[in-house]
């Protein structure tokens, strides 16, 4: 007894039918595959879910820099705080969604190197990217000492 019913392609099943109305019979399959890939790969490009945002940490000789991607945030709604060795960034975005307003709040705390002059931290916001400059303490900067060789 066959549990599965086998169907063999016949001339009738292979002939173009009127059901597709000139559309490629594969059109549906194509968009379905696109959707599957978009779902599987889409997450790579999107920031992590939730109320967080991506940050980068850089340093040069004099400063440590934190760059945070915060598109569409009001400058007034960005709060940057240094608490001991932690830098906390809070921001919120409000946007019009039809006739009502939607608000999103973001916050993030990073631990930064210890050698930061907390009172000289500055921040700037441009094109949706927040850059925080954390100057290093004098003793932490690399020093050039020339030693006389006798």
């Amino acid at each position: 007894m066959h549990i599965i019913r086998y169907t063999y392609p016949t001339a009738r099943s292979l002939a173009p039918t009127t059901a597709f109305q000139g559309r490629s019979p594969w059109a549906g399959l194509e968009s379905e595959i696109d959707r599957l890939f978009a779902n599987a790969l889409g997450e790579f490009s999107e920031p992590a879910a939730g109320n967080t945002f991506p940050v980068d940490l850089y340093e040069d000789k004099a400063n440590t820099y934190v760059r945070a991607e915060l598109p569409g945030v009001n400058r007034d709604a960005i709060h940057v705080e240094m608490v001991e060795d932690n830098l906390s960034i809070q921001a919120s975005r409000t946007q019009q969604a039809g006739d009502r307003e939607e608000a999103f709040a973001f916050s993030r705390t990073l631990s930064v190197p210890e050698n930061v002059q907390a009172d000289k931290v500055s921040a700037s916001y441009e094109n949706g990217v927040l850059t925080v400059t954390l100057p290093k303490r004098e003793e932490a900067k690399p020093k050039k000492v020339s030693i006389a060789v006798n």
């Binding site: 991607e69 915060l70 598109p71 569409g72 946007q95 039809g98 949706g128």
Partner: protein
């Protein structure tokens, strides 16, 4: 559309974005529908007006945003979560969009594209005689 293209849809697709862009990422976006228009919000942090291209062609809206900021030579990356790749994405729409009236506005790294619906499709109240 030729027979080959109808059998292998891949051949009928638009060419990939220009190679000079390098690897690209798809920006995060939201799409909202109102009775008279669709609003597409695309998040493009670090992209300025001068470095953004919004084009419509054959029923597709394509957005290419180049990042302006380059890491200075003497900066060392200690930790990175973002990518330096440029943004590129294509959104297809159908005849219900009034192509002539598409507007785009960029502010603080957020692009708002308004796609008004064609007048024939907008809800209309019909006076009953």
């Amino acid at each position: 559309m030729s027979l080959v293209q109808s059998i292998v849809p891949f051949l009928a697709r638009r060419p990939a974005p220009a190679a000079e862009l390098g690897a690209t990422v798809k920006p995060q976006h939201t799409l909202r529908e109102a009775p008279d228009a669709w609003t597409l919000t695309v998040y493009l942090p670090g992209v300025t007006k001068e470095n953004l291209e919004v084009t419509t062609e054959a029923g597709a809206l394509s957005i290419v945003g180049r990042r302006v900021w380059q890491q200075p030579k003497d900066w060392t990356a200690l930790y990175r979560e973002t990518s330096s790749a440029n943004f590129a994405s294509t959104f297809e729409y159908d005849l219900s969009v009034d192509e002539e009236k598409i507007r785009a506005e960029l502010k603080d790294g957020v692009l708002q594209v308004t796609l008004p619906k064609a007048a024939a499709l907008q809800p209309r109240r019909i006076a009953v005689q």
